[in-house]
Amino acid sequence: MGSLIFFLAGVFALSMSIRLPLGTMDKPGPGIFPLILSGLLSIIGGLLLLFETGSGKMHWSRLIREKGTVWKIILLSAVFIAAFEWLGYLAASTLYLFFLFWGVCRFRAAAAVALTAIITVSSWYFFGTILGLQLPAGPWRL
């Protein structure tokens, strides 16, 4: 699986690199290095495809079935990133942490709410006041 990723990445990069100016030998252009690297990557990916003995193969159907926790974390993080600047730090992190504690870590709702409240407020104080970071305020200017 990994070798296929490298091979395909190499071929894709090769197709993009040939569109860049290669320059001349005494003035190498921006395309020469990516061209060499993408060619190398395609070759290495091809060699790995030939030589791989089967260790580290991904079983996609099992991956989807059994890695529910991982998928949930990725999805929640993606939603957090999308909503973070729009909702503001306090609201976005509250929702993010609540769903992580309740939906992923399987705390009871009351425990999840308590943990979320403590961590959100402490982190808002730590990042915003102690470290002085500019965190998005959101529509409620919090």
Partner: protein, 497 residues
């Protein structure tokens, strides 16, 4: 100016109240980071980058170096007491350290680990002090051809010393080098692989990638494991080793110091490699090798000394050549660049006070860490009483906010998450991640050197073998490449046969 004068100036700066406090903070945070699985020195340094914005550069580098050192000390605590490595370099300490705990000798193991770390750390700082200025002077004679050849050696070494197969490591290196070409070309101003996305014009951010792969990726993998914690909390009076244990640890500590320092000069996972090599060496030299794995003090003393000494060794190419040899050091480089300081051949001559203050703070930090890690072992262990399912959402949030704070860019968060997924997938496929992140940060220098060399020679490749230094480096790279390929092919044949 001679060595003693320089060191005196360094101590004068490092021993101010403010810098002592920052050193202490860095060491404390580093120890905590080292103890907690799921958050390594890389994430520990990256998370505190925003905290350094209000500091002067001397204070910033002192604190960040403290974190780096502290993480190496802290990692042994949980390895010994709970059979859980706090970070990857402490994996091998679990083998004998935990067995010593089961025999009621946890205190002795912790003491020797701390003592060995102090000796290894102190001797390696001596090495930095002696070697870095010499190497920097030599590097000032480097032209682009020499730099290109040296970096080629570094990359081939990185590939051959990786934990997986050579071809797999090289694939990660080439992918990282390719990722490093994204953005604006420094020499011509042309945009490469940006697909019209404005956020990619400056390239792919190193910190989001490193935090994603080593922070988020680690968390995703860790959520699949069930950690059963058995706690042993040694009392202060149980910390001292007996005469036999102390005597038996002297040789491993001295050997570990030398081995760790020289391995630390090499690019890649120097801390992990140094601790494994030290364990193998001690087992080979032991009169009772069959007892390794049952609680031998040598199995703790050597590896823990080596991984701390490797920290010093890694500082040499970083400070003298501007080449970070590990992901955590690479993040420290980014932090320094944010403060307008560029490590490299000119760093020591142009910023001698900064360099010698750092050296002095490394000596001081070693003392602080020994003082912290033994009496406060109970406190650090109590951190692990916090269930992982409470810790990991906090770590995730801190990774997200820490990354956002660097350039206030949501795109960095997208890169963070994408790298986290990539790190998780590559972990599952058993690919080493360090080569990718190192290639990402060093790659632009490799390309620039290559193109500048050709421009200087009017397009002739003879510039690479015309210089004796460049030719020597190329010969070493060619030899290593050939040897590693042969070794890799032999392993594949053995697996199939």
């Amino acid at each position: 100016m001679d060595l003693s004068n320089n060191l005196l100036i360094g101590f004068q700066t490092a021993l101010t109240l403010k810098n002592l406090y920052l050193c202490f903070l860095g060491c404390l945070w580093g120890s905590m980071v080292g103890v907690l699985p799921g958050i390594g020195p890389l994430a520990g340094i990256a998370l505190l980058i925003p905290a350094t914005y209000g500091l002067d550069v001397t204070g910033a580098i002192i604190m960040l170096a403290g974190i780096y050192y502290g993480a190496m000390y802290g990692g042994s605590t949980t390895s010994i007491l709970m059979n859980i490595p706090g970070e990857s370099a402490s994996v091998v300490t679990c083998l004998d350290g935990y067995q010593m705990t089961k025999k009621g000798r946890a205190g002795a193991a912790l003491f020797i680990a701390a003592w060995g770390s102090w000796v290894g750390g102190t001797l390696s700082v001596l090495g930095v002090m002696l070697l870095a200025p010499t190497l920097a002077n030599l590097a000032m004679k480097f032209g682009p051809a020499e730099m290109f050849s040296l970096l080629l050696v570094a990359f081939v070494l990185l590939g051959s010393l990786g934990t997986g197969s050579f071809l797999k490591s090289m694939a990660m290196i080439v992918l990282g080098l390719l990722a490093g070409t994204v953005g604006m070309d420094n020499l011509t101003g042309a945009y490469r692989f940006t697909f019209g996305i404005r956020d990619l014009f400056d390239g792919i951010g190193f910190v989001p990638v490193a935090m994603g792969m080593f922070g988020i990726g680690e968390i995703l993998a860790a959520t699949e494991e069930t950690l059963v914690h058995e706690f042993y909390k040694p009392r202060l009076r149980e910390l001292l080793p007996n005469k036999h244990e102390f005597r038996a640890s002297i040789g491993p500590i001295l050997r570990g110091s030398g081995l760790g320092f020289f391995v630390g000069l090499l690019p890649g996972s120097a801390h992990v490699l140094s601790s494994f090599l030290s364990y193998i060496v001690e087992k080979r030299l032991s009169k009772k090798p069959e007892e390794f794995g049952t609680g031998r003090i040598e199995g703790v003393a050597g590896p823990e000394t080596a991984n701390n000494a490797a920290t010093g060794g890694a500082m040499v190419p970083f400070l003298a050549l501007g080449i970070p040899t590990g992901p955590a050091i690479a993040v420290m480089m980014v932090a320094l660049l944010i403060h307008g300081v560029r490590p490299g051949p000119l760093f020591i001559s142009e910023q001698p006070q900064l360099f010698w203050s750092l050296i002095a703070s490394l000596y001081i930090g070693n003392i602080i860490l020994v003082a912290l890690n033994l009496p406060l072992v109970g406190l650090f262990v109590n951190l692990l009483r916090v269930p992982f399912r409470i810790l990991f959402p906090i770590i995730l949030l801190v990774c997200l906010i820490g990354t956002y704070s660097i350039s206030l860019s949501r795109f960095d968060l997208v890169v963070l998450l994408g790298s986290g997924v990539m790190g998780y997938v590559f972990r599952k496929l058993r690919y080493d991640l360090a080569p990718f992140v190192l290639a990402l940060i060093i790659g632009p220098t490799l390309e620039e050197s290559f193109r500048q060399a050709l421009m200087r020679s009017g397009g002739s490749f003879s510039i690479f073998w015309g210089s004796p230094m460049a030719l020597s480096f190329l010969a070493i790279a060619a030899f290593l490449l050939f040897w590693s390929l042969l070794r890799s092919l032999r392993r594949e044949k053995e697996k199939k046969g």
